[in-house]
Point group: C2
Chain length 211, copies 2
Amino acid sequence: MARGADTREKLLDTAIDLIWRSSYDGVGVNEICKRAGTTKGGFYHHFETKADLFYAASEHYWEGKQRELNDIFSPTYTPLEQMENLINMIVEKQDVDQYDDNPVAGCPFFTSGSQCSSDEEKVRLAAVKMSDNAVMYNVGLVHALKGSGVLNGDANPEVLGRMLQQFIQGVLIYGRVHRDLDVVKADLREGFCRILDLKQEYRQPVLQAAE
Amino acid sequence: MARGADTREKLLDTAIDLIWRSSYDGVGVNEICKRAGTTKGGFYHHFETKADLFYAASEHYWEGKQRELNDIFSPTYTPLEQMENLINMIVEKQDVDQYDDNPVAGCPFFTSGSQCSSDEEKVRLAAVKMSDNAVMYNVGLVHALKGSGVLNGDANPEVLGRMLQQFIQGVLIYGRVHRDLDVVKADLREGFCRILDLKQEYRQPVLQAAE
DNA sequence: ATATATACATACCGACCGGTTTGCATTCAA
DNA sequence: TTGAATGCAAACCGGTCGGTATGTATATAT
């Protein structure tokens, strides 16, 4: 049972990594097993189908991500710093990992969910969950920004949080197909400021933001 | 030679349609041939590989789209009306076609290019071309809007045109995974106004816009 | 020590993949 | 009228897909 949990987790991590690099359809069960140091016997001992693995992997991934986001959105940061942290996290996640030849990875669950065929409903549901989770954090951020008075005009946090998520994904996909990380870095911050309608005096990057 | 061109075009149209509904990987050559009323013999008579078909189909698609866009951005419309036309075109394209059970289709070339494995470079290149084409029209729109004085602040047309494209794709993918067309309709216009920083008095939909 | 359940490895399955080969109409050139 | 090229249909190819069946080593319970 000890090694059982290890194998399972290794499969989850490996699946995330591989699917992130290409896509759900682009990665085979065999490849996942091989890289995880096991075989199909092990795979189908822990998961019923490939889609089940994907769903479980997305939840597994989110657990770690959630802790990361909690740090980033820690109340010890001002809302502006939190925004800065979020932007930095998205950008750094891309070029640190250096996925193969593509500098931009994007979010595996979100992009995979949008492309998979309709009969793999579980894959889409995983993407919906991941997306909704991300939006939640964005909404909280907008609330905080609004409360600290750095936004112009009227800001509906629910709408803006969702729009930030849409924009982030759009920028990442754009960067991915163009194989261009620089444009991601540049457009991400500019888009945030514009969508949120951040007051001009706060649009410069907050110096000395996060860890 | 007469029927030859017909078969070829039927394959192009069918490929666009099917890939649009699912994805590049999700559609097989067999299925494309079957729905186009031909066989693999016919397919590989006209195209060398599946990726070649995709590339050719994207160009074929763009020819028709270009005419549509030229109408939409006709100088007989004010820049604001042109923007209205664009938003309407994007939205209408989605629910009119009613792709299977998914109300939101998105752009097949863009989404496919982002997901396919790295060895299918031609698919990615097709996506880049389509994306750049779209951005070109957006940049022109921003120039026109800027010239007519409906935008606040400083507007870099190149950057904003690109950001509009990123945002559009992000919204469409979001709508696709959530199977929600209404959120697409709502967020698209709001996002345009915010990204462009449209002056408040012009943010209401231009009545009686396009055809 | 023995029975049972767990945690896999190995071998295998039918289906389908993109792509090829072959043959047969039809069209056109000479 | 004949020969060659075009436009395809049908059958086929090796490879890979997700998934299964079976065997086995280990760990645990009794």
